[in-house]
């Protein structure tokens, strides 16, 4: 992890994986680096630190003889190119197998499916852990995990099993999640958590039959979102698990905010069959058990996360705000499942308030905890929500063409304002570099 060092031109954005800690340095030391160099030299001369410690500090702060190191964006480029290349090769082979499935001997099929997957894992392992090419190795490991998923669907397809089946995604998730941790791969974690989120939402959708059960599903998805986020928080408390935290936090935040957004519309609460408000729902025993377990595990994870929190120890807002928001999402999960009131206005107001709270909560918590991705999620949904409300407001008031033009201008203005605000926020709170450095890196 890269520590935040205020005032540094080379400070990093936020919690990054260990593999991303290389920083881009300018060949000319900054004023701060020159100051640090002189101080360290004084400490060394006064005997406070040894020569080795002095060198270690200089190396850590990248002060001294300018060395050429690859920037974080260059590293990402390696990861993106390697992953794309590896996935393209795997896709080509899998498409070939799928297209010629009927005409291929059984042994050839098995060899291509299982042999290809195993070879991808083995090459990935060799490059990542033995030969010293961690990024390319991780990309090929990622391909192995994709290959496994493709194999699950290909085998299902070859036996004419319905492939529009969320269980296959959950099996894929179960297969690749342990790999993410063993290979210490953020990209495989992103894939595993993404598959889980899509798979569980899809599975939940298959349970829907009628408006009432849709709310049961959305209630359980709120609880799943809270669970994902709390698992992410737990990961942050262990140094060796921090690199896996991001995907859980972002998936949880996206799921919760997405659900809250869906529930801000009047129409959602009307029973389309009778055009009346949906009634209070009595929860079945199995639903109560499932929701109870999800909630209990989430609360337990939150308690452990708060107890083991070493950040913001003296700041109750920093310490309790995040668990508080997650607890609120749990409460809304139960609220959504039961629909205890008889007023559409009340539901719509409640979910609009929740959406606003989650959007600003994401931005504020992103700032407090230095998570740029969380800030971006908040900003994206802010713009989506703003656009939606604009369309709702103007659809009956303005001529369509005028509404589009005014809306477009407003969006451009909001986009410009948001970008400015985002830059200012990130710079003000030391989460990213200033504009000039970003531009340099982009180039």
């Amino acid at each position: 992890m890269t520590e935040h060092t205020p005032g540094s031109d080379s400070e990093q954005i936020v919690e990054r994986s260990d593999s991303d800690t290389e920083v881009e340095i300018s060949p000319r030391p900054t004023a701060r680096q020159s100051w640090l160099k002189s101080r360290v030299e004084r400490w060394r001369q006064s005997g406070l630190i040894t020569d080795e410690q002095s060198q270690a500090i200089m190396d850590f702060e990248s002060v001294g003889t300018p060395r050429f190191r690859l920037g974080i964006r260059f590293n990402r480029l390696i990861v993106v190119l390697s992953t794309l290349g590896a996935v393209l090769i795997a896709s080509g082979i899998i498409s070939f197998v799928a297209a010629n499935w009927q005409g291929m001997p059984a042994m050839a099929k098995l060899f291509l499916l299982i042999g290809g997957q195993t070879a991808a894992y083995w090459i990935g392992y060799q490059l990542q852990f033995v030969r010293g090419y961690p990024r390319v190795g991780e990309a090929i490991m990622f391909t192995g995990a994709v290959w496994f998923g493709a194999n699950v669907f290909l085998v299902a397809q070859s036996y004419h099993l319905g492939t529009d089946n969320p269980d296959l995604m959950i099996l894929w998730f179960l297969g690749v999640l342990p790999l993410a941790y063993l290979a210490r791969s953020t990209s495989v974690t992103v894939m595993a958590v993404g598959i889980f989120t899509v798979g569980i939402s899809w599975k939940a959708a298959t349970w829907v039959d009628g408006p009432e059960s849709a709310f049961l599903v959305m209630g359980s998805l709120f609880l799943t979102a809270a669970l994902l986020y709390s698992i992410g928080m737990l990961h942050l408390r262990r140094a060796n698990l921090k690199l896996h935290a991001g995907p859980y936090l972002i998936s949880g935040a996206l799921l919760a905010i997405g659900l809250a957004y869906v529930l801000t519309f009047n129409e959602v609460f009307e029973d389309t069959r009778s055009l009346t408000i949906l009634d209070f729902q009595t929860l079945s025993g199995s639903y109560l058990a499932l929701a109870g377990i999800l909630s209990a595990v989430t609360v337990a994870a939150l308690v452990v996360a708060v107890r083991n929190s070493d950040n913001n120890a003296g700041n109750p807002v920093g310490r309790y705000a995040e668990p508080g928001v997650v607890a609120l999402v749990i409460a809304f999960g139960w609220f959504t499942a039961t629909l205890p009131f008889n007023s559409i206005a009340l539901y719509v107001t409640a979910f609009n308030l929740l959406l606003v709270l989650l959007i600003f909560g994401s931005i504020v918590l992103g700032i407090i905890n230095r998570r740029e991705a969380l800030i971006n999620v908040g900003i994206i949904f802010f713009v989506i929500d703003l656009s939606t409300r604009y369309i709702e407001l103007t659809v009956d008031m303005l001529d369509t063409s005028l509404a589009f033009v005014v809306g477009g201008l407003l969006l451009l203005g909001v986009g410009y304002g948001m970008e400015r605000a985002r830059r200012q926020l990130l710079r003000q709170f030391g989460i990213t570099r200033d504009h000039g450095t970003e531009a340099n890196n982009d180039s």
Binding site: A98, A99, W101, Q102, L110, L113, I114, Q117, T118, Y121, Y125, F129, F148, N151, V152, V155, A156, Q157, S158, Y159, H160, L161, G162, T163, D164, L171, G175, P178, L179, L182, A183, W207, D209
Partner: protein, 180 residues
């Protein structure tokens, strides 16, 4: 990677392979050891852009009740309380004869059924139950969908194991076995 992590890594890959081989083995065992039955079907929705070419098969026994595809001469009986999501067993004894009785039994197969297929009740409306058996898609080689789509008569020979799980063995198109 530590030696322990390396061992676990190998174990996870081994589990993935065993899972895939197990899936292949299970389906092969149904096809080779199961009993066969021929089901009437209507192919609908012939292709999908993302999953390759396939036909969706709606069987005579997919909808049992008033909205059924089954001719009225056939009788159906719903036995036990059937709710959406329930596992059901449909008795296929005498399904090859002209007139037959369809017993749809909840929870467990009838002890008197000679041949039954397991499915899941996906919809229950006005005495009509819609059932999925996991054999509703048939994947085809690229460009062959039209042959099935334009056929007058499509039947499916399925293989069914002792627990009622079915697997598609082959299509019978206009009276002859269709070769992919």
């Amino acid at each position: 990677m530590t030696p322990n992590a390396k061992r676990l890594f190998i174990a996870v890959i081994a589990v993935q392979i065993v899972f895939l081989l197990g899936l292949v083995g299970y389906r092969e065992s149904i096809l080779s050891l199961g009993r066969t039955a021929v089901l009437e079907t209507v192919p609908v929705d012939p292709r999908d852009l993302f999953k390759g070419e396939y036909v969706t098969l709606r069987y005579e026994i997919s909808t049992i009740g008033e909205g059924s595809l089954a001719p009225l001469k056939n009788q159906y009986f719903l036995e036990g309380e059937i709710n959406e999501g329930d596992t059901v067993y449909v008795n296929l004894t005498n399904i090859d004869s002209d007139v037959y009785r369809l017993f749809v039994q909840a929870d467990k197969p009838s002890p008197y059924a000679d041949l039954y297929i397991k499915g899941r009740a996906t919809q229950m409306r006005n005495g009509t139950v819609t059932i999925e058996y996991g054999i509703e898609q048939y994947f085809l080689p690229e460009g062959r969908g039209k042959e099935i789509e334009t056929a007058d008569d499509v039947k499916v020979r399925v293989s069914i194991n002792r627990s009622g799980t079915a697997a598609i063995k082959e299509l019978i198109v206009d009276g002859t076995v269709w070769r992919p």
